[in-house]
Chain length 231, copies 2
DNA sequence: GTCTATATGACGATAGAC
DNA sequence: GTCTATCGTCATATAGAC
C-alpha cells in the first residue's frame, strides 16, 4: 500500500479501452458490495478478486493499490451525488420558494446517502485508517461544493434569503443540517429506509428551522400571523 | 474475535482488585491512543500490548476479545460525556433562558467530542466493521439519553418550549444538530480546535435556528417585533 | 492480461509451562 | 498473571511464466 496513483492506460484499440473501462466499473461495483458487508474499512482485495472471478494480482493491472480503489469509490460516489443533485435542481427549475427548494435538496442528498450508505460513509466520515483521498479523487467533491454555492447564490438573487445573509456561512450551516440527519440515521438506525427513518422524516422540521433564521421574513398577512403559526 | 464478554473478576484481596482495575484503565488509555493514531478501526492488540509493556496474550487476562476492549472504550466515553454534561447542568442550575441553556449544552457536548475525537467517532459513528456495542457497554449511552430527556422535560416544565411541543421529537431534532456540528468539524477540519473551528463556531447560529422553531415565541414587545428581528 | 508462486508480514486467539 | 510458542488465517504486493 505504497502507491496511490491509478495505472496508466495501456495503448491499444478503442475496443480494448472500452473493455478495460467496463472491467474497472465492475471492480468498483464489487468493492462497494464488499464494503457494504464488511464495513468501509473491511475492504479486502482478495475478496474483491474472488467475486470478480480473477486472482488478486490481476487487480493490480487496473488499480495501483488498495487506496487507488478507495479513490475510485470515493470519486464515483461524489460524481453520482453531484449528478443526482443536478437532476433534482433541473427538475425544480428556478428557486421560487425557499422551503420547497431546501426540502427537495435535503431529501435528495439524504436519500442518496441512505441508499448508498457505504459510499456515503467513506465520503462524509473518515472511517478508513491510512486512507486520504488523492487530489484527483477529490475533484468531484470540490465540484459538488461549488455547484451548491452557485445554487445558493441563485437563491439569494431570487430574494429568498434574509437581506444581508452571508451565503458561505449559510451554506456551511446547511451542510451541518444535512450531515446531521444522515449521521444520526446511519449511526442509530441504519436499516430504516429513507421514507420511514426516524431522522430522515425530520427533514421538514430541519428545513423549517433553517428557513426561520435564513429565510426572508414573510410579509405579515392580514392578522399578523408569523411563521411561528405555520405548524 | 468470537467472545465479547468481559473477563470475570478473579477473587482476591482488595489490593489485587485495585491493581487489576488500574491495569485495565491503563490498557484502555493506550487503546485510545492507538486508535487516535491509526483510526478507530486500526486498533491492534499487538500494538497495545507493546506499549503497555506486556505480551499480547496477557491482554486476554483483562479483556476477553478485541471487541471487549472496544466496549470498554465505548462505555468509558459515554460515561465521561455523561459526567461532563451533569457537571455543566449542575453549574447552570434550573433552566431559565432557552438560548443560554441550549448553547451551553451544545458547547459542552461538542467540545468534549472534539477534544476526545477518537472515542467520539466510535460513539457517534459506526466506523468499525464487526463491532457492535454489547448491551453492558450501551448502558451509559442509554443513561445519557435518559438524562437528556429529563433535562428537556425540565425545560418544558419551565415553559421555555413552545406550547404543545413533542419533547421526544424535540430531543431527536436536537441530536441531529449536535451530531451535525461534530461530524462536519471532524470530517472536514479535524485539527481545528473547538474555539476556532469553522463548524463549532456555528453553534450560536444552530441554537438560534432551534429556538426559532421549538422555543416559546417571545411575547411581542411594543411595536410587534418578531423573533426574526433578533439578529 | 492473466496466471502461479511467493515474499513478507500482520493479525486475533489459544495452549500450556512457570 | 505472565510468559513462550504456535495455530490458522488473512492481507498487500511483486516476480516472472504463459
Amino acid at each position: 500500500m505504497t502507491t496511490t496513483a491509478a495505472r496508466p492506460l495501456p495503448r491499444g484499440t478503442d475496443r480494448r479501452h472500452e473493455r478495460r473501462r467496463q472491467t474497472i466499473e465492475e471492480i468498483v461495483d464489487v468493492a462497494v458490495a464488499v464494503m457494504r458487508e464488511n464495513g468501509a474499512a473491511g475492504l479486502s482485495l482478495g475478496e474483491v478478486a474472488r467475486r470478480v472471478g480473477i486472482r488478486t494480482p490481476s487487480l493490480y493491472v487496473y488499480f495501483a493499490s488498495k487506496n487507488a480503489l478507495y479513490d475510485a469509490v470515493f470519486a464515483r460516489g461524489w460524481q453520482q451525488l453531484l449528478d443526482t443533485m443536478d437532476a433534482a435542481r433541473a427538475e425544480l427549475g428556478q428557486p421560487t420558494d425557499l422551503t420547497d427548494y431546501l426540502t427537495t435538496a435535503a431529501e435528495t442528498i439524504v436519500r442518496w446517502a441512505v441508499d448508498n450508505a457505504t459510499s456515503a460513509q467513506l465520503m462524509f466520515w473518515r472511517p478508513v485508517p491510512d486512507y486520504e483521498p488523492a487530489p484527483d479523487a477529490y475533484a468531484p467533491a470540490v465540484r459538488m461544493l461549488e455547484r451548491s454555492r452557485e445554487s445558493f447564490l441563485q437563491v439569494e438573487a431570487a430574494g429568498l434569503f434574509r437581506p444581508g445573509v452571508d451565503v458561505d456561512e449559510a451554506l456551511r450551516t446547511w451542510t451541518v443540517l444535512t450531515s446531521g440527519v444522515f449521521t444520526q440515521q446511519m449511526a442509530n438506525a441504519p436499516h430504516e429506509p429513507f421514507e420511514t427513518g426516524r431522522f430522515t422524516t425530520a427533514i421538514p422540521r430541519v428545513v423549517e428551522m433553517y428557513v426561520a433564521v435564513y429565510g426572508r421574513p414573510a410579509t405579515p398577512a392580514r392578522g399578523g400571523r408569523s411563521h411561528a403559526d405555520q405548524r
